[in-house]
């Protein structure tokens, strides 16, 4: 089902207005709580510093975005001070997904955007900066079908093609795209957990549950692949399209993250790559 983005944005805008949240006076800012980073593919490795820490070469293949140094041995300490390929350059976080293949040929996404959003909770003013060093895994690498998958595949510039949890056939001239929303409620204590999931939760009825009371920006990953036509031979390194998953290791410099949450998310305004708005 399509997410009613505009509806949610309007509701958030109304809530923000009701709460008398200050809004920049100049121009007409777009009332969507958002900042973003665009990070093309940096490198490809059979490594996974969250699921298989220190075990170089032991993972299914991943496409890494952002921080250039990410490998099986990456830690918060090893990643900080490195450079990446995000716009903005300040974001040296690590992001990775299973590699997409057509038969045995790897296909890199050509559009990679990470949106940080205030949607999903009723009170964006209470959203906190994503904790430094937080690790989040979204999606289900072990999905066996639609029922246990949150993957979403669709076609860029072909909205009439219904989204699906598995690969979709995109018309000529369009691109295969996939969306993944990360959980946005943190337990307030742990930067990771044994199953890499239980320290985070999705919101319930517009709020974070008491077990995971700290709301952080919702990370939405949007990948666009130079793929259309038949889905024959398409697979992820983790299996079918339903197994799409994403990993995030937050190494945004604290001040850069805090400024964006304050100026874009809490006040419900759409910001540019530099975390500014007109």
């Amino acid at each position: 089902m399509r997410k009613p983005l505009f509806h949610i944005a309007a509701v958030i805008g109304l809530i923000a207005t009701a709460l008398s949240i200050p809004v920049a006076a100049q121009g007409e800012p777009v009332r969507v709580a958002e900042f973003l980073a665009e990070c093309p593919i940096s490198h490809r490795l059979p490594d996974d510093p969250i699921v298989l820490p220190n075990l170089a070469g032991a993972s299914h293949m991943h496409d890494f975005f952002g921080n250039h140094s990410t490998n099986a041995r990456s830690t918060q300490q090893s990643l900080e001070g490195q450079t990446g390929n995000c716009n903005p350059a300040a974001d040296i976080s690590s992001y990775w997904v299973p590699t997409l293949y057509r038969d045995n040929t790897a296909i890199a996404p050509t559009g990679v955007t990470f949106y940080y959003l205030g949607e999903g909770v009723n009170n964006p003013a209470a959203i906190q900066p994503t904790p430094y060093g937080l690790k989040i895994v979204a999606g289900n690498a072990k999905a066996t079908g639609d029922a246990d998958s949150i993957a979403r595949w669709s076609c860029l510039h072909a909205g009439h093609v219904n989204p699906s949890k598995n690969f979709v056939t995109c018309p000529a001239g369009t691109m295969l795209e996939t969306y993944l929303d990360f959980p946005q409620c943190w337990d307030g204590r742990n930067l990771d957990s044994a199953d890499h999931k239980s320290h985070m939760s999705y919101p319930v009825a517009g709020g974070c549950p008491s077990s995971h009371p700290v709301s952080v920006p919702k990370l939405r990953m949007v990948l666009r692949y130079p793929v259309n036509g038949s889905t024959a031979g398409l697979r992820l390194a983790s299996g079918t399209g339903q197994t799409m998953h994403g990993d995030f290791f937050n190494v945004w410099p604290r001040a850069e993250m805090e400024r964006r949450v304050r100026n874009c998310i809490n006040v419900v305004i759409k910001c540019d790559h530099n975390g500014n708005h007109g």
Binding site: L55, A58, A126, S210, V214, G239
Partner: protein, 151 residues
């Protein structure tokens, strides 16, 4: 709501400066050991499905011995986190299907299982410090080295 907000603010304050890395007892059974053991069980179990198509009983015996030792190391109920994935050294269901009808494919996939899983085991050898896990890693390396030498 105020309590929640306060809890959130407190939590946010508490996480700066950065917390130290997750405490893992030196030479203990830590995240790397746990990840390796779960991966090795998944790989060996899947490899057995491929090896069942061969007449190389020593390979099947070795995988079963490894599985017994690996399961002793588990500190929580086993979960297969890698089913259906294209993991190094782990034959896929499609490969096993193909191997069941093609002797050449079977030979090739058995060899790929051995060479790739040997690389993973060697990688683990340099990363794992927990002595009982390291012993199993060494056993797995000895097995694969001998199996490759035997053809």
């Amino acid at each position: 709501m105020k309590v929640l907000l306060l809890a959130g603010l407190l939590a946010a304050c508490q996480q700066a400066p950065p917390p130290p890395p997750a405490p893992v007892a030196q030479n203990g059974y830590g995240a790397t050991e746990r990840a390796f053991v779960e991966l090795a069980i998944a790989t060996d179990e899947q490899a057995l499905k491929l090896l069942d198509l061969t007449d190389r009983s020593e390979l099947k015996e070795n995988r079963n011995i490894e599985l017994t030792e690996l399961r002793k190391l588990l500190d929580a109920p086993y979960v297969n986190n890698h089913a259906g994935h294209d993991m190094p050294g782990m034959p896929t269901d499609a490969e096993i299907q193909l191997a069941s009808t093609s002797p050449d494919a079977l030979d090739q996939f058995v060899r790929t299982h051995l060479t790739e899983s040997l690389e993973v085991v060697r990688s683990a050898g340099s990363a794992i410090t927990h002595p009982p896990t390291a012993e199993v890693v060494k056993l797995m390396e000895r097995h694969r080295t001998a199996e490759l030498a035997a053809g």
